[in-house]
Point group: C2
Chain length 515, copies 2
Amino acid sequence: MSEARGRRRSGGGRAGRQSSRVNPVASTPAYITRKLKPFEVLDEAALEQIEANAETILSEMGIEFRDDPEALEILQKAGATVEGELVKFPRGMCREIIQKSAPAEYTQHARNPAKNLQIGGNNTVFVPGYGCPFVRDLDGGRRYATIEDFQNFVKLAYMSPYMHHSGGTICEPVDVPVEVRHLDMLYSHMKYSDKAFMGSVTAPERAQDTVDMAKIVFGEDFVKNNTVTTSLINANSPMTFDDTMLGAAKVYSRNNQACIIAPFILAGAMSPVTSAGTLAQILAEVLAGMCFVQLYAPGAPCIFGTFASSISMQSGAPTFGTPEPSLVTYGAAQLARRLGVPFRSGGSLPGSKIPDAQAAYESANTLNSTVMAGVNFVLHSAGWMEGGLVMDYEKFMMDLDQLGMQHTLTQGVDMSENGQAMDAIREVGPGNHYLGCAHTQANFQTAFYMSDLADNNSFEQWEEDGSMDMRQRANLQWKKKLGEYQAPELDPAIDEALQAFIAKRKSELSGTGDF
Amino acid sequence: MSEARGRRRSGGGRAGRQSSRVNPVASTPAYITRKLKPFEVLDEAALEQIEANAETILSEMGIEFRDDPEALEILQKAGATVEGELVKFPRGMCREIIQKSAPAEYTQHARNPAKNLQIGGNNTVFVPGYGCPFVRDLDGGRRYATIEDFQNFVKLAYMSPYMHHSGGTICEPVDVPVEVRHLDMLYSHMKYSDKAFMGSVTAPERAQDTVDMAKIVFGEDFVKNNTVTTSLINANSPMTFDDTMLGAAKVYSRNNQACIIAPFILAGAMSPVTSAGTLAQILAEVLAGMCFVQLYAPGAPCIFGTFASSISMQSGAPTFGTPEPSLVTYGAAQLARRLGVPFRSGGSLPGSKIPDAQAAYESANTLNSTVMAGVNFVLHSAGWMEGGLVMDYEKFMMDLDQLGMQHTLTQGVDMSENGQAMDAIREVGPGNHYLGCAHTQANFQTAFYMSDLADNNSFEQWEEDGSMDMRQRANLQWKKKLGEYQAPELDPAIDEALQAFIAKRKSELSGTGDF
């Protein structure tokens, strides 16, 4: 009764104001189109020098393509010199081949067309963390991930207007045998979310399973003509590609599906300790990888990727949120724009074991430079912790909140008449306040990004509420969200077909692991 | 014995590598000279529009100068229209007067000349938090600040190579009567640090005491001809200056000491809810204040200041680390550069009650935009918490670490031959690692910013070390630092003269408070 009354009254008063802002992001777009120009750290001379150095690496030092005679043959036929498995590219060859056929942008389709993503240009797409063997939450601590954890993160990503993509191997569900794990992960993305997803890359057959399952969801013809997956092809830096990654890249690219060619760099170990040296090596590796993809399947969408951090010179341990990787991200984004292809890097990348101040500093430092650099595909946007070993429930919620802020920041300063607010200044005048003025009232619903995790109450109120830190509030939040989760509709016929496919593949694959 | 042996062996092995990096910042400069260009969010048309709007505010709506007939007379004589206490400035008047005499840069001298600061241009100076009535540490919790706390923060700032300035009212030592408090604060800066400091602004007589004490330290003639203090003159936004602040500004500027003219803005309360509206109002207020200072004391150093954050539209509470204030900081920095004067804004500004993830996200978001905006004088760089109510010991140490990272980031990408590292790439080649290569060895001491608070160890090692979060590590760190503190030398004759001055002033002032 009182609830009903409360509801009826919700048009007015403080409750009304609150409810009118319960969902301030009803109009949040499926992805960000940035209005701010990217921040740049390299001038023209520096860019040309790094590009020249990359060509020297490609032409004089070479890139290894391991255990893949087909790749060697294709590259040789196109003009490269092959010495054993070492491929040397004449200066300019890779760039020319890439620029001839690689698209500057592409659409990654989601099964809900309202959530289709434009990858490249001024667009930024946030994607969950990827590849973590462990999960952590405040109640259960650190433990191996399960398929239930995997599905939980798919659901939390689905429910957030600030997470644009469902991701890929968010965490490794180790309770599912490795040879069939990809099937359950893919099904989870398809069933529990309607956002775009990434494909399996751990074996060419798993990439093919990804394509086959996508055909069930999107239709065979649609997948032939459209990109519905984006998948992560890592280079074995320095200057090496292996047959597993090349095999997956072949499956995806010949099916017109997108690949990210991404050197995985901890500078000081997999690249020089300097930023300019690291950038030249990254560019060389990406040029070689993208060149192969464009030769193999001209026109297949392909992202210039990097994952770059540094190591501790004391212990050799990876370090995150430090300044040098930010410089590399800014520089690599410039190199990708000059090449004319979409760019993947960055994210929220803490090394900290728990979502404490260290984790947040590291995350904010990497996320701010990522967004300011103009990264298009932001893998590891949320939840990724401990240098990628742990997907953390509370941290996932914190990061979503930060991603929300980037939606506002990237839109820059509104210079419309309403944005200029001269009427408000005229109305209020010296010494008064703007709280109740007409302009404030009119902009009430859209003014200021509203965090749903930050506590802005008085100290006294905060104490009365239990003196919780952000981690404790995030703990309550993800449980509440999962409790409220409702699956997006999926055509029962498609669901059945997916399950039949999975059952068939599981019977074929079971016991063929463990690899 | 074993300790002595350990010391003798410190040239080699892992201990040797560690000790050779114990002070990686031996060559840290007294302030930052940025090599990166500032990030800009407003194009030419937007800048011109905001400048035109500021002129409309100045000419049509006016700025109040309260309880200061002298100021009104000076402004009227210079061409403004005075209606009661409301001053209207003809379009262009303020800008013209400021640009005629306000210096683009100035040197703030420290009593240790090696720590002199260049304020303006491409330089960034970090200054501790300011004005907090409370302090907090992990052991003692939240409590009113004392003079001992004040001195502790002066000492911690003195010991950090990343903190360039000793600050002003870091916290309010409420155990000292308010009418003599400024004397003890000033003495603390002069005695326990040799870095530059800020003056008292809470009454014109206290500003005069600041100048008089500075003359004891630097010599009377030196102070006449040089700037040795920078002090904070807040506007009572919207569009108001009061006689207290104007009185302090007069004392400082006629003594050739620097003032920051700083609108204090919580957008939505003291300015419109939009960034463009807030920027126009800030510019109008600063133009009016700086114009007055330049008329009163032509050529006196003067900083374009802002403190801008937003409020919660639900509760009216101030919010920090949100995107809109970052846009205001970027835009205001552009306006200051066009005016041709130094700029103060930003810092590490959390609203959180404790140094948790919320605090770190908020700090990193404000600090990153501050540094990327090209702010010259960064008040509130460390320790400031709970929207300015609390100076936090652990947070102070965390922020120092973050300031250190900015020293590296702002230097951009090293494009020297060593930076390009082509020899390293040639030496290592495909599939190998860079850990032991000649280039890595040669750059060991300077490669990568090394945090002294982040834990980058393995999860197992971190657990073995007590599973500490960053706050616990910072707690150990500040206590260790204070234990190691050694005061910089101060000529005993100067010390005696300062103490005699303070004793005299205390006998004159005691009991004249409480205001």
